[in-house]
């Protein structure tokens, strides 16, 4: 018995021209079949480039990429399978829907020879696009376009689904609903999925694994909990957030912290606020009480 083969074996180096100057990308990772991996990191870390390299849209300087037992790229053997022969579904950051085609035509364009058109019907039903199927992309909202892009990427029946920050342009409510669609697609078709995101709640909700990148290198990898929750779990309550307002009130200050949809108001003394500015990333922690869990849904 051989151990279950990893779906993706990826090793690549490339010089990148970023806004911070030239910087090498040097990444290697493996991923098991059916898993959902998130690439996390600041802009310019190389997240999108990794997706483009996997898709065959960006060439590498050196390395080897193997997906599902097929060799897609090996610079030593001079092998580089073109994008159209790689079984991938890529959702672009701005969706890249074909403006001259209707929603249905966009999906039908993705069909391969011999595919049944019923497959498009199934996708339209799964992504709840029935009412929109004869509309052009320009008339759709951001969330609707995202669903079309997701459906189109799956229409090719890829072995690998790649999502480049597909939710970044959406408001929180829409974002949450679309995460459901991504999960649905991922689970329904058992697609091995790589998602680019820098939104923590989303990462915790969707991913099995996270790779945290900075300046073209992997800093950390593992489950979302091992990557983001540095310290050992304790009974103490703590959340991360961003300061959105500091307002003086009598002799103290009220600091408003935005944390995953909620604004938490905290009282702080003038010494405490001395180092705080609006926009600072902060951690809210309690010292003396234990949080309770209340089911809301």
């Amino acid at each position: 018995m051989t151990p279950p083969a990893n779906m993706i074996r990826f090793r690549a180096t490339k010089m990148l021209d970023t806004s911070q100057g030239r910087q090498p990308l040097d990444i290697s990772f493996e991923l098991e079949k059916g898993r959902l991996l998130t690439l996390y990191g600041p802009s310019g870390a190389g997240k999108t480039t990794i997706l483009r390299i996997l898709s065959g849209l960006t060439d590498i300087d050196a390395g080897r990429i193997e997906v599902d037992g097929q060799l897609w790229c090996d610079t030593r053997q001079n092998i580089n399978v073109p994008a159209r022969r790689r079984s991938i579904g890529l959702v672009f950051q701005d969706f890249a829907l074909f403006p001259h085609l209707t929603v249905r035509q966009n999906l039908e364009f993705a069909l391969q020879k011999g595919d049944d058109k019923k497959w498009v019907d199934e996708l339209i039903a799964l992504m709840e696009l029935g009412a929109l199927q004869n509309s052009r992309p320009a008339t759709l909202s951001g969330g609707q376009q995202q669903r079309v892009a997701l459906a189109r990427a799956i229409a090719r029946r890829p072995t690998l689904l790649l999502l480049d920050e597909p939710l970044s342009a959406l408001d929180d409510d829409m974002r949450f609903r679309l995460q459901d669609y991504i999960l649905k697609a991922h689970q329904h078709y058992r697609l091995t999925t790589i998602l680019v995101s820098h939104y923590l709640p989303e990462i915790f909700r969707l991913s099995d694994e996270v790779i945290s990148l900075d300046k073209g290198r992997i800093i950390k990898k593992g489950s979302p909990a091992t990557v983001f929750l540095q310290e050992k779990t304790s009974g103490k309550f703590r959340v991360m957030g961003e300061i959105v307002a500091i307002i003086p009130s009598d002799i103290v200050f009220i600091v408003s912290v935005l944390s995953t949809n909620n604004i938490v108001k905290v009282i702080a003394t003038s010494e405490e606020i001395a180092t705080l500015r609006i926009g600072d990333k902060v951690m809210l922690a309690s010292k003396a009480f234990n949080p309770v869990i209340i089911k809301i849904e």
Partner: protein, 225 residues
């Protein structure tokens, strides 16, 4: 009344030139738009040369090239019995070269106006370059196609120097409308010269008006919110 033959000849020349030019310029513009070869700048400059060169320069070198006494002209005459100087096929080849930038540049601008993700998306959906060109790129650059076709057509109608040098102004064979005007004027038939001129003037104006009108409507219909 004026002889209508020069007008028909002009139309025929423009028609044939535009069709052949479109077929040849499309792959060339595609290559100029997407090739990563650095030397393509030289090619771009060559394509645009006819816009700045005096037609007589192009005419002179084409005459040399087509001349049956040496080079390409000799080869064609000896092996295929084809003569290009003072003939209609010669005019077509000269017109294709002379109108090349008027077809290639709009097409090139069209390709460059399309977000690169559309082409990449098509490739990631498993489609070849040809399918991508026909089904994704061309439908999204219709104004550029129209502009290239119409400008080439109108520009070929308006040729003078090159057709005079290559065609030799032979009635019924190579005397196109623009040459007929010159002829009538030389023979002091100002009324006839005016008739030819007015027809060309009106024709060109209507064509350009139509192109701008259609493009404006297309752009309004296709702007993303």
């Amino acid at each position: 009344m004026i002889d209508l033959q020069p007008l028909w000849l002009s139309l025929r020349l423009s028609f044939v030139t535009t069709i052949l030019l479109f077929i040849g310029a499309l792959p060339l513009a595609w290559w100029l738009a997407y090739s990563r070869w650095r030397g393509k700048l030289i090619m771009e400059a060559f394509v645009s040369l006819p816009m700045v060169l005096p037609p007589s320069v192009l005419g002179f070198y084409l005459l040399l090239a087509f001349s049956p006494s040496h080079g390409l002209g000799k080869f064609l005459a000896q092996h295929f019995d084809i003569r290009l100087v003072f003939t209609f096929p010669g005019l077509v080849i000269a017109s294709i070269l002379y109108s090349l930038p008027f077809m290639v540049n709009p097409l090139l601008a069209g390709f460059r106006s399309i977000p690169p993700e559309l082409k990449e998306a098509s490739h990631t959906l498993g489609k070849s370059n040809t399918t991508t060109l026909l089904k994704i790129l061309l439908p999204n650059m219709r104004p550029s196609l129209l502009t290239g076709i119409v400008l080439s057509f109108a520009h070929t109608i308006g040729e003078f120097g090159v057709v005079l040098m290559i065609g030799g102004n032979i009635p019924g064979h190579t005397r196109v409308a623009s040459l007929a005007i010159y002829d009538e004027m030389e023979s002091m038939n100002y009324a006839n010269a005016n008739r030819y001129a007015l027809i060309l003037f009106t024709f060109s104006f209507i064509i350009l008006l139509a192109v701008y009108g259609i493009n404006q409507r297309f752009n309004k219909a296709n702007t993303l919110p």
